[in-house]
Amino acid sequence: MRHLLKLGALALATGLAVPALAQEKLKVGFIYVGPVGDFGWSYQHDVGRKAIEAAFPGKVETSFIENVPEADSERAIEQLARTGHKLIFTTSFGYMEPTLKVAKKYPGVKFEHATGFKRDKNLATYSAKFHEGRYVIGKIAGKMTKSNVIGYVGSVPIPEVISGINAFYLGAKSVNPNVKIKIAWVNEWFNPGKEGDAAKALMDQGADIITQHTDSPAPLQQAAARGNFAFGQASDMSKFAEKNILTSIIDNWAPYYVERTRAVLEGKWQSQDVFDGIAKGKVVMGPYVNMPDDVKKLAMETEEGIRTGKIDPFTCPVVAQDGKTVECQGGTKLSDGQVVGMNYFVQGIEGTVPK
């Protein structure tokens, strides 16, 4: 069955149907931007999908379409809606408009869009405060770097990635005032070869620590090949570089997916916007390894501080790259809305945000 679905996913370009099966069960569908085997972003969403199946045996049926290009996603989403799926998760920022469009056409179907900000009666949004994890690894990187240059492999310049870079830099800067970061944008979420080349280019230019916001383990692997340290992205990637990984930021969607499926089963589902992170367990830090005890202690304290709310990566004042202080809309810190819509670098980062 799984293979069939995979082939179905492939045939999405031609608009072939995912076969419809039993009527009784709640059908939950997922759209992934990459392959489930990317061992990163899409892989973790698929872990969440499997958690739904495990949590409601016999009551739900899940299916997914992988490798769905953002520009061509409307057909794939509609495909799921038309084949009886009553709860559909679309798991990439670029699916925002297509999801909104399909949601209007199928008012009886519940939609959930990850990392977006457009909602409707039957369209909820959810995201995770990945920047909290990036603040923690920023502190580790700031402590561990010897060259004071850190390489950042960027994917696509959307607010989630920008706020991640800012949080990372603020974390690094807070423990190492001389730290610099260099950014190389791949302009794709998943292209292992190019991600690896970007990491190499950054290291050629003096970076001795690599971090990434792309989906494959290639940058980590290239860092390890040169004996440098790096971080895992989205899932625990330690087996790709056991001696060179410092920790991973793990996306843990499973509890949220189970909770929302339960809401539909019990008829309590409502449109909402959820944005939480380390405190709710949606962002989980991998084991802290290959670092001295004091750095490990600092990392754990930072993580704990974020969990309890004592520490926030964007504690005011936050100064933007142009030298202006950002208006503090969240009391002592930037508001969630300001973080979700972040489109500027903070002061100290070189280079400009690609428009």
Binding site: K6, P35, D38, F39, G151, P217, A225
Partner: protein
């Protein structure tokens, strides 16, 4: 600058090698008059098979051989369809790419997330001491050296061997070739198999050397770039080699430009290799003497009259 140059050049070579290998194969296929749009599919099946066999047999050499053979097998299916059954080459090629992408996911299913140790480079003593280029050219991976041999084989083979001439005759005008008594379909089939073999080898390079893991979709369009390089080459192997290294070079150079924060939009920089390809094609066609340089019977099915 001088100390990073060898590192940059080494990155360029590894980025260009899979493109070069796949493009050499497709070049031969097209010289024989067959357009194979399934390169991407054959490449990714090669990548998956190479990784799977390398893990199961714990041998990178066997993995590379398996990757190349997997590309050849898929090419054999393609060849039977378009040569012996005279199916439409464009449609069949596209189908091969879609099939290959799906098949590779199936083959690699149990190998996702498995790491693999690097293949040790081949080092030439003495020669590797040459400043800058020594380290780049004489401490490469085995398949890089194989790609250099392949350049020579393809270039010489097509130009100066009897078999190469026959192959080109079959591609240039299949009617005349047939009238002369040449086995047009058999010649084309061999060319298609060779193209598949090299596409599979390029795939093996991706999963065992370039990035050492298997992941579905990891070819990320490199098969299509190889096809574009063949157009770019307009029938000349030297142009194909130049194109592959130019493309790899610009791709890596733009990453460096970004890391150096030169302030140009990264999207523009990412598009640069493609823009350059278009620009060079434009220049070639303006100054060109003989049109596209493609084989005369390219893409036309040949059905011998009885």
């Amino acid at each position: 600058m001088m100390e990073i140059l060898p590192l940059v050049l080494a990155t360029v070579l590894t980025a260009a090698t899979p493109l070069l290998i796949a493009a050499l194969g497709e070049h031969v296929t097209e010289r024989a008059g067959v357009l194979n749009l399934g390169v991407e599919g054959m490449m990714i099946v090669g990548a998956a098979s190479a990784f799977a066999v390398a893990v199961l047999a714990d041998s990178s050499v066997l993995g590379i051989v398996a990757g190349a053979l997997a590309g050849l097998l898929l090419a054999a299916v393609f060849g039977v369809l378009v040569i012996y059954l005279a199916a439409n080459q464009v449609a069949t090629g596209l189908a091969m790419t879609i099939l290959g992408l799906g098949l590779s996911g199936l083959i690699g299913q149990n190998f996702v997330g498995r790491p693999r140790a690097p293949i040790p480079p081949i080092e030439f003593p003495v020669l590797k001491e040459i400043p800058v280029l020594g380290k780049v050219l004489f401490t490469g991976d085995p398949v890089f050296y194989l790609s250099l041999i392949l350049i020579a084989v393809v270039s010489y083979g097509l130009r100066a061997t009897r078999f190469g001439l026959l192959l080109r005759a079959a591609g240039e005008n299949h009617g005349s070739a047939h009238a002369l008594g040449l086995p047009v379909r058999r010649l084309r089939f061999v060319a298609v198999l060779f193209g598949g073999l090299l596409a599979g080898l390029a795939g093996a390079y991706l999963s065992l050397i370039y990035t050492r893991f298997w992941s579905p979709g990891m070819s990320a369009g490199r098969g299509w770039i190889a096809l574009a390089l063949v157009v770019f080459a307009a029938g000349h192997v030297w142009r194909l080699v130049l194109g592959a290294y130019l493309f790899g070079g610009i791709t890596v150079a733009q990453l460096h430009a970004q890391a150096g924060a030169i302030g140009l939009p990264s999207q523009l920089l990412s598009a640069l290799p493609y823009l350059m390809t278009i620009a060079v094609l434009l220049l070639l066609s303006i100054s060109g003497r003989r049109g596209s340089g493609a084989a005369g019977s390219l893409g036309q099915p040949f059905v011998p009259e009885r």
